[in-house]
């Protein structure tokens, strides 16, 4: 049986889509039996996708320069990219900051919050720098398939992966296609 290597990454999102992924429950076992192999995912705690990964799943919008690198690496190493959840697909909740200049956002977050005393904006090079605008994944790389939803249901994720493993093109509709 041919293995289908699946990697996933969690960018600017709440991890709800990965929760929904895990919410497939025993169907995860079924998919693994049918050939799905989880490689670099937050679930396996591996971060760098290997060369020749079949399916790359991206959760969350792209809000920092690090995330730009992450999704570009996924595009390079994965044959088929799925943007999963409203943030990855449309930009989602993180785009709320698009109407406010980055400096004001950071000030509000690290200095002006009511519970903060002597706050300062972190400057370590280890941390990603905020982009001027939060972007949907398809504004940075080419995306092959979209599963909108906040989060998408486990049924929708299961349906898409199952179709891909069996070599068909999934077509979301009805209860599986939801924007909220």
């Amino acid at each position: 049986m041919k293995k289908v290597k699946v990697a996933s990454v969690w960018c600017e999102g709440c991890s709800g889509c990965h929760m929904s992924f895990l919410d497939m429950d025993e169907r995860l076992v079924e998919l693994i039996k049918e050939g799905m192999e989880l490689t670099a995912t937050p679930i396996t705690d591996l971060k760098i996708p290997e060369e020749g990964t079949d399916v790359g799943i991206i959760e969350g919008a792209v809000g920092t320069d690090h995330q730009v690198e992450d999704v570009k690496l996924f595009r390079e190493r994965c044959k088929f990219i799925i943007a999963i959840g409203d943030c990855a697909v449309f930009g989602g909740i993180p785009t709320m900051r698009n109407y406010i200049p980055v400096k004001e956002v950071l000030n509000r977050g690290y200095i002006e919050t009511e519970s903060t005393v002597n706050g300062k904006i972190p400057t370590s090079n280890e941390l990603g720098k905020l982009l001027p605008r939060v972007l949907a994944v398809n504004e940075v790389i080419k995306v092959d398939y979209y599963i909108p939803g906040c989060p998408p249901s486990a049924d929708a994720i299961y349906y898409v992966i199952k179709e891909l493993i069996e070599g068909r093109v999934p077509q979301l509709s009805g209860e599986l296609l939801k924007y909220d």
């Binding site: 943007a83 697909v89 449309f90 909108p148 979301l172």
Partner: protein
């Protein structure tokens, strides 16, 4: 009408020449997606979702009349692609991110997204930030959600006749505005709420209803508004499995109002802050104490006899009036005047055909909003009907006409209206002098607006406006203010839904159901019998007047009506 032959999806069909392509498709049962088009409004072709292909050219089907030789295709790749890109542009222009929006689930744009399988945006959204106008008491306008379908503008003018909403600028900078671009709360808006009812997205929202529940979570109860004697058709949205009203919408199919409501019918009924009478009470030397249904019945029975009179007001339904007559015989009187100063000589269909209107002493925007809409849409719309207002005090209708007269100068109004063919005089109460002046004018048509909801029912039941005293005085209804004052010596029993001041010294207070808790029929101003359905269970320890009267008379309502 000429019959012409066209081809529709390859099949030859014969159709009437005046129809649009969309009309024909609907008749043939062929689905064409629409967004800005809405049945009672004139089609405008703003949104372009309904494009079809005719011999290679794309045409908006809602505004294109059929013509001989047309070959319409509704499902070609060209049509599908055009509609899809159009939908992408609609989603991309402003903020149509469903997660933020309370209309998600009740949104026609979202429905189209699902229908077309739209699973991402092709154009970067959220580039521009728009105003959220929260200045209005009942409505909020979030311009970020607007798709510029102008349904609200068209409803505000074509249907409601208020002409408050409009647009400014052009193309993608177009904004929906109120009056001359003032906040909605400071505009001339009469709070009829039709814009919120007709908005396909989450742009214009009813503040109260927005967070209470969606349409799929509601039981929709068709009913009739009983605020004024017009009897507008309404749909009451009650949260499924709960006992509260989400919102009241006008019934688009009602022959009376056609979807339009006024502030009173749509909002005042839900924002009612009058204190309810929570339980029946009896007064003795120490003040009031609570009393149960059996106690109420015992006292009421002991007080009914030849020396008892009953007073009613126009808030009672026909079934209740019939039972009251069973109990009290002919000793039933109205607490308020019932007889028209001049009987109506026309009806609502006559009103909607007239060339001129003389409105005497009544502020239609305030008290009879939908009658106001019927007149205003003809005065301010294409029909250019003439409006004459005769009033001494403040009347908001004076802002839309130059022809304003005082009661003293009423003759001048008649002189000015002379050339017009079809003139309807609209009034409610009239002074004797004005009435006499009017009756001399035989050429005019009269439309009397009755004082209370079921005033016509009182007339039909032969209940007169008279002051007859008795040892025991019963009162049924809401307008109880004058009752103690008029009968200082009598034992007064009041069956009413609202709290009465202790100082009124009513002897027995019977707490009754009110508003959406009641059901029954009443006669509207045209004399049509209209049914009002129950939409709420009462949460208080209150009595249905029908039950009380059935007990007292020994008859059920089906036996008397």
């Amino acid at each position: 009408m000429e019959r012409i032959k066209i081809k529709f999806n390859g099949n030859e069909v014969e159709v009437d020449s005046g129809k649009t392509i969309l009309d024909v498709a609907n008749e043939l049962g062929i689905h064409i997606p629409t967004l800005c088009n809405f049945e009672p409004l004139a089609p405008k072709g703003y949104c372009r979702m309904c494009v079809v292909e005719d011999r290679g050219a794309l045409k908006a089907s809602c505004v294109t009349p059929v013509a001989a030789g047309m070959e319409i295709q509704t499902d070609t790749p060209l049509v599908k692609e055009a509609r899809y890109i159009n939908l992408q542009l609609l989603f991309g222009e402003r903020n149509h991110y469903c997660m933020y929006c309370e209309s998600s689930g009740d949104c026609e744009l979202q429905d189209l997204g699902y229908e077309f399988g739209l699973d991402h945006f092709d154009f970067p959204p959220y580039e521009r930030k728009f105003l959220v106008d929260n200045s209005h008491k009942f409505l909020t306008i979030d311009h970020n959600r607007c798709i510029l379908c102008r349904r609200c503008i068209r409803a505000c003018s074509e249907l409601a006749g208020h002409f408050v909403l409009g647009e400014r600028d052009r193309g993608f900078n177009t904004m929906i505005i109120a009056d001359v671009d003032v906040p909605l709360g400071e505009s001339t808006c009469t709070s009829c709420g039709l814009c919120a009812q007709i908005c396909p997205t989450g742009t214009i929202k009813d503040k109260r209803a927005a967070y209470l529940g969606k349409e799929v979570q509601s039981d929709i109860i068709p009913s009739t508004c009983d605020i004024c004697p017009l009897g507008c058709g309404i749909n009451v949205y009650r949260r499924s499995g709960s006992n509260f009203i989400i919102k009241v919408y006008g019934d688009w199919d009602s022959p009376i109002n056609g979807g339009v409501l006024c502030k009173l019918g749509r909002y005042s009924v839900l924002y009612d802050e009058r204190k309810r009478l929570l339980a029946s009470k009896i007064r003795d030397d120490f003040g009031y104490r609570k009393i149960d249904f059996d106690g109420v019945l015992k006292i009421a029975r002991s007080r009914i006899g030849d020396d008892a009179v009953a007073y009613v007001d126009g808030s009672l339904y026909n079934e209740e009036l019939a039972l009251i007559k069973k109990v009290f015989g002919n000793n039933v009187y109205s607490i308020n005047p019932v007889e028209p100063p001049i009987p109506s000589s026309t009806d609502l269909s006559g009103l909607s055909k007239a060339e001129g209107y003389i409105v005497i002493g009544v502020d239609l925007n305030k008290d009879y909003g939908v009658v106001g809409s019927m007149i205003k849409r003809r005065v301010l719309g294409e029909e250019k009907a003439k409006l004459f207002v005769v009033d001494d005090g403040f009347n908001s209708l004076t802002s839309i006409t130059e022809n304003v007269f005082t009661f003293k100068d009423i003759e001048q109004a008649f002189d000015k209206a002379k050339g017009l063919k079809d003139v309807v005089v609209v009034f409610s109460a009239l002074s004797d002098t004005i009435r006499d002046t009017l009756t001399k004018r035989g050429e005019l048509k009269y439309l009397w607006l009755p004082f209370e909801t079921n005033t016509i029912g009182l007339i039909k039941n032969g209940i007169k406006y008279e002051m007859k005293s008795g040892k025991n005085v019963f009162f049924f209804g809401k307008d109880h203010k004058k009752i103690r004052e008029r009968f200082p010596e009598a034992f007064v029993i009041c069956a009413t839904p609202f709290e009465i001041e202790e100082t009124e010294k009513i002897d027995l207070l019977i707490a009754t159901k009110d508003g959406f808790e009641r059901e029954g029929t009443f006669y509207n101003l045209e004399g049509k019998s209209l049914k009002r359905n129950k939409a709420l269970e009462s949460e208080y320890n209150v009595i249905d007047v029908i039950d009380l009267l059935s007990e007292l008379s020994g008859k059920t309502k089906s036996e008397v009506i």
